[in-house]
């Protein structure tokens, strides 16, 4: 399924989950990983793109804001808009919303705390490959962020629901909503289902010694979106 896929991984000053993603892909998936520096002009030939977590540009202005205006992002925008598969994790999710590749925004957590714990994720209903591959699953995936409170206005929320763009929600009924996200939203996708942003870190849940292997299914879903 994943043989010979070329996966790009963006690196900004302050990215810190890039190597974890690379290690995970080397360990489990037969893919070629290509590091891409934020000052590069254009993306190389790739099949999919990972925007990793971290604190790009020290979270100045807002998390992901400065990164969304960096040189490589024009090419990332073109890639996403022409149907390319992109996954943004944590700070990568913030970069995707600040770039307007995904709707809404991620604000400071409502409890004023940096939350670092295992989250319990539910997969929402929708038509994207993420929904199909992960259907009905409850996943245990770590979160580590200070600004993960998803917010969007009422019109935007209605559109997300109608288009089936909500992919992950925190299980707030049997567990809790760790950051005050609207509707406990933890991850959303674009209308075409190819661009996914999520606060939890699948690369930190890929081995039983990590406490969970549930992240692997999320990576498999990402690879499934690459046609």
């Amino acid at each position: 399924m994943s043989i010979n896929k070329r996966i790009g991984i963006l690196q900004f000053p302050g990215s810190n989950c890039d190597e974890d993603c690379i290690k995970c892909f080397r360990e489990y998936f037969n893919t070629e990983l290509i590091r891409i520096w934020h000052q590069d002009d254009v993306l190389p030939e790739i099949d999919g793109l990972i925007i990793p977590g971290g604190f790009s540009y020290g979270d100045y202005l807002r998390g992901g804001s400065l990164a969304s205006h960096s040189k490589i992002m024009d090419s990332v925008r073109s890639f996403a808009q022409s149907g390319g598969s992109v996954i943004g994790i944590c700070n990568g999710f913030q970069i995707l919303t600040e770039s307007h590749l995904l709707p809404g925004v991620l604000l400071r957590n409502d409890n004023q705390k940096f939350v670092c714990e295992f989250s319990r994720l539910k997969v929402a209903k929708g038509k994207s490959l993420y929904h199909k591959v992960l259907a009905e699953k409850t996943l245990s995936v770590p979160i580590a962020h200070g600004a993960g409170r998803y917010y969007i206005d009422a019109t935007g929320l209605k559109r997300l629901r109608e288009n089936g763009q909500i992919v992950f929600t925190y299980d707030s009924e049997t567990y809790h909503n760790p950051n005050g996200s609207l509707e406990a939203i933890a991850g959303i996708c674009s209308e075409n289902g190819k661009v996914l942003g999520m606060m939890p870190h699948p690369e930190r849940a890929v081995h039983e010694l990590f406490g969970s292997e549930d992240g692997l299914a999320i990576w498999q879903a990402f690879l499934a979106t690459i046609s």
Binding site: S65, T97, E98, P103, V105, L107, R108, Q112, Y151
Partner: protein, 78 residues
């Protein structure tokens, strides 16, 4: 030419920092305090050669300094 841009969360969006400050002040006895709103202030200094500095300052505020999904902003010449 200088402009002051103030960015803050829209009133309908919870401001946890403002809430934490209000609670703390309440504990200190400032019981008449009803609300605290936190904002960020930016001072932009524009080149005199800019023919339309008002528009430049507004564009910077709207497209860069504020995320209008959740934040509002004001721009004022100072």
């Amino acid at each position: 030419m200088k402009y002051e841009v103030i960015v803050q969360l829209k009133p309908e969006v919870l401001d946890p920092e403002g809430r934490a400050i209000r609670k703390s002040l309440d504990r200190l006895g400032f019981n008449s305090l009803r609300d605290v709103q936190v904002s960020k202030r930016y001072v932009l200094e524009l080149d005199e050669q800019d023919k339309n500095p008002d528009a430049t300052a507004h564009k910077i505020a709207e497209e860069y300094l504020a995320n209008v999904v959740a934040e509002s902003f004001t721009v004022e010449k100072i």
